[in-house]
Symmetry: C2
């Protein structure tokens, strides 16, 4: 059985979310180096990377309200601008990964997914699967998509990665885990302390403490994220929400070592996780 | 019946083919303005644009020999670098088009096509078709693709556009034409004079005069281009090879007006072409 780690690099981590169109190149390079080390030390590990839009795509997405549809010529131009803003950030990551000799190929979700009334009705995973099989690292990102009913919407990186997690989980050859690497140490409780584990048993208690994103985020912020992850944890896919500012944290999560952060899933599984 | 114009912007036109990674921004902006004028004056006309790799992708494609397969880690990184070089040029076009208020979406062929021994075995046109139907302008480019037998190859913009021409030609609602906009006034005869028409009757006579590209071009140059176009002209798709340095030339070709350049198809059809 092959290990597949889906790594989400949060928009809040790789950009300054409060300064439009401002990336954080040092963090991006640090992550690229850490992922290269992980890949070199674990040649059989498969990786899919996704990045949030941060202060790039969310700015124009808000301006054009692309998530809620597309009718006028301005909406159409806006759709393209939001996509291009997302590509611009994604390109900075691609460049850093290539420089770190990681063979990444950016596969824009606009070419793969279609929605109807914001619900995913098509997500062609074959290009991503072929890329993985060829020994490359697929790179995706939250993107605009065409919507059969309202014209357009936006699919978050979290949504896309959880769909991919489900897709590869059903392929019995993959043991899938999803790691959300953010600009925060995990999910906070009401006292500002990191919740070490969220599972179906404690979620209803915890839910009210989980706030919306303070910055501009058209796709739901922390609450949306936790709900996406909890939904796939039911299937047996382990998820982590960890702080990407701390070197080694991502490595720990990918390799199943104890780390600080929030685990979403079934704790008995976490303890028993054996990396192979 | 809807008119669909597939426009190829040649690598030799939009880049300086003899200076690595050097675009020609003035020409790109001029083309963007001309295409905007065409689109505004013909709101029912559908457009698909493709661009050649010029001195961007061809450099790295030659270095890594990506067209002939992918085995080693260096080949894999090379595959990604060639793609990224192509994206870098394509992005300059996208930016110019968006600035000209043309709603273009770049759809990387690596996400859409698969080959086997360099032969196309899958080309999912649905993303391109959905984009067209949504009133946007799909933008493609010559790209690396995964190959089921040899690992990797490269599909030229000409190949991709002729495949799209065939696809949309079989949809009875489209009248398709393909316009190759280059850095040359057409196809030259043995005396250096532009051949005004190439058709099945005169092709064998003409073939020996058509040279290979003088610059670095991994995908076949002029001879390859003419053969791709002649193959679809048999189906009734009209093709032009025109000089993109002359303002108004592209407009003439798209609207079926008499222009200088080489017509590939059936001359009686050209004379009778009515734009609707």
């Amino acid at each position: 059985m092959m290990d597949l780690a889906l790594i989400k690099l949060g928009g809040s981590l790789i950009t300054d979310k409060d300064r439009p169109y401002t990336a954080r190149p040092e963090i991006i390079q640090q992550l690229a180096r850490e992922i290269r080390a992980i890949a070199h030390q674990n040649p059989h590990l498969k990786l899919i990377i996704g990045n949030g839009a941060g202060s790039f795509g969310h700015q124009s997405a808000k301006k054009y309200n692309t998530i809620n549809g597309m009718t006028t010529d301005t909406d159409k131009l806006g759709f393209c601008v939001v996509h291009q803003d997302s590509i611009d950030l994604n390109r900075l990551l691609t460049q850093a990964f290539l420089q770190a000799t990681l063979p990444v190929i950016s596969l824009p979700p606009v070419t793969l997914a279609v929605t109807q009334n914001k619900q995913l009705i098509k997500f062609d995973c074959s290009a991503i699967e072929n890329t993985l099989e060829a020994g490359l690292i697929p790179l995706i990102f939250g993107d605009v998509v065409l919507d059969k009913k309202i014209g357009s919407t936006i699919l978050s990186t979290d949504k896309l990665l959880t769909e991919l997690a489900k897709y590869f989980h059903t392929k019995t050859k993959f043991r899938v885990r999803l790691i959300n690497v953010g600009n925060y140490p995990g999910v906070y409780d009401e006292h500002g302390k990191v919740i070490s584990e969220i599972n179906p048993a404690n979620y209803l208690q915890i839910k009210s403490f989980i706030g919306e994103s303070k910055s501009l985020d058209v796709t739901g912020g922390m609450l949306g994220k936790v709900e996406e992850f909890l939904a796939i944890s039911y299937l047996g896919i382990d998820c982590w929400i960890i702080d990407g500012n701390i070197p080694g944290n991502l490595t720990g999560a990918v390799l199943g070592k104890p780390i600080l952060g929030t685990f979403i899933g079934n704790s008995s599984k976490q303890d028993n996780y054996e990396h192979s």
